[in-house]
Amino acid sequence: MYHCGDLTPKQRAEWLVSLPTLAWLALFLVIPAALIFVLAFRPADPYGGIGAGWTLETVRALWAPSNLAIAVRTLWISLLTTAVCLVLAVPAGYTIARASEKWRNRLLMLVIVPFWTSFLVRVFAWRSLLHPEGPVKALLQAAGLAGPETTLLYNPAAVVLVMVYTFLPFTILPIYAAAEKFDFRIVEAARDLGARPFQAFRKVFLPGISQGLLTAFLVVFIPALGSYIIPDLVGGPSGEMLGSKIAQRVFTDRNLPHASALSAVLVLAVMAPLVAVLALQRKKKRADIIMGESP
């Protein structure tokens, strides 16, 4: 930190306009983030608060098999959701990018409008659709695909379904944005040179929109890891994820140190893909410079 007298007038003005947000975010973002890691080493008190002294007990308890199972489930549910979203979003983004300008705007609106509803309401809508007396089950039963015993709610599959529903538009938009900038003449050239449609798609189109794919991946995978409402409302005990476990520790067990140890795990899980993507991008940029392409 500089002493005030050492600052040029320009620097002083800069500090003056930056200070309000810096102070606010230090107080309500940086300190809380640090507390997540600190409180994992404090004991709980019986009234739902934080006890005195320090302990390693909570961190050691993280290795319980039940916690491990939840961590693994959180990972595979998030990966599966991301994969399904990408598989659906690539053709959708492609179609929107190739549509005429009038249709492009219409389709984009159609993608965005359902998400003007409250997030909770959308989860609730699925809850009533998948309800034992709801329309989806009636339909499946009529088609002979479900028996009277089948439960559609409260399992990991329901969690994946509702998560795909929630995150799909956020995957379509970056892929559309990348596809819109893509020069489709390259695909036509590849076809003229004898590439089969799928080959041209895989070897030319997908690499061409890699930046959009990467953004789409992060936009789904990171919030998916932290999902809480969806597993809480449609997951049941077999669909529990890290996020719902954290909330349970806070509101049911009233044990903040346990919640903070689990949250610290979640922080690290979220950081991993971010750091990986940043490293990948840096490496790619360096390769581009060596290859003589503009980044």
């Binding site: 947000t21 975010l25 179609t95 159609l110 997030f119 959308r122 989860v123 009533s128 919030p223 932290g226």
Partner: protein, 257 residues
């Protein structure tokens, strides 16, 4: 060259997937049946129940108090931050500033919620509407700052220099030049902050405490502990309000241009 029909078919299926739950929800709000698989005629009974529920009105009032306060604070802070980020873009301080402002956009909500809860508990701050406002501002500032920053990207600072050469003081420049020129960005940011505050559940749930219930918290407890048809009616109303607001703001911005 003949294009494959496959992507178009997937897109159509995706759109059907997007609209199906919402259509069922709106339809069910007019269905008097408690468990809503069969249509039992058109009725407004759930809407009447909704309007007669004092808890819903109280929650709506809390939601609006929070949203107005959050919008006011985050517009001032966010615009100031965007100005700093743009004006001093190259400095090391602004790099830190940018990272901090960017963080709430990527951090999962549950982590912000639990961190803030711990901070409030550790500092002994009683949970209530005030803690909800503090928490909401923390993420709304980022959205306002990014929106205004986007507007600043094509802002010509020579206008400010010209105003200074003509003898205007900073107060006057802010009032007569900066704010009017940035208004579309600020208004868009304010709208975003308001919407995000009204809709937020996860962070609110962590920092609300027992007394202060907002509309999403109310909806959540209605989902968890029964009263489904009333949620259908409430959601339909919310949907109607948002669609009207967005269409109005689009028309407004179009007519200005």
């Amino acid at each position: 060259m003949r294009r494959s029909r496959f992507p178009v078919a997937v897109t159509a299926a995706v759109l059907a997937f997007f609209y199906l739950p919402i259509i069922v929800l709106v339809a069910n709000s007019f269905n008097p049946a408690r468990f809503s698989s069969r249509w039992q005629g058109f009725s407004l009974v759930w809407y009447r129940r909704l309007f007669e529920s004092p808890e819903v009105w109280q929650a709506l009032k809390n939601t609006l108090i929070v949203a107005v306060a959050v919008t006011a604070i985050s517009v001032v802070l966010g615009t100031l931050a965007a100005f700093a980020l743009h004006r001093y873009a190259a400095s090391r301080l602004q790099r830190v500033h940018y990272t901090l402002i960017y963080a709430p956009l990527v951090v999962p909500e549950i982590l912000m919620g639990i961190g803030l809860l711990m901070a409030f508990v550790a500092a002994g701050v009683p949970l209530g509407l005030v803690t909800i406002i503090l928490a909401h501002v923390t993420f709304c500032v980022s959205f306002v700052a990014m929106t205004v920053l986007g507007r600043l990207q094509d802002f010509d600072f020579s206008v400010v220099e010209a105003a200074r050469d003509l003898g205007a003081g900073w107060g006057r420049i802010v009032r007569k030049v900066l704010v009017p020129m940035l208004m579309p960005g600020i208004a868009a940011g304010a709208l975003l902050a308001f919407t995000l505050s009204v809709d937020d559940f996860v962070i609110t749930f962590f920092v609300a405490g027992p007394g202060a219930t907002t509309l999403p918290l109310r909806i959540y407890s209605m989902i968890k502990f029964g009263a489904p048809p009333m949620i259908n009616a409430l959601s339909t109303l919310l949907l109607a309000v948002t669609v009207t607001a967005v269409l109005a703001s689009r028309r407004l911005s179009r007519s200005k241009r």
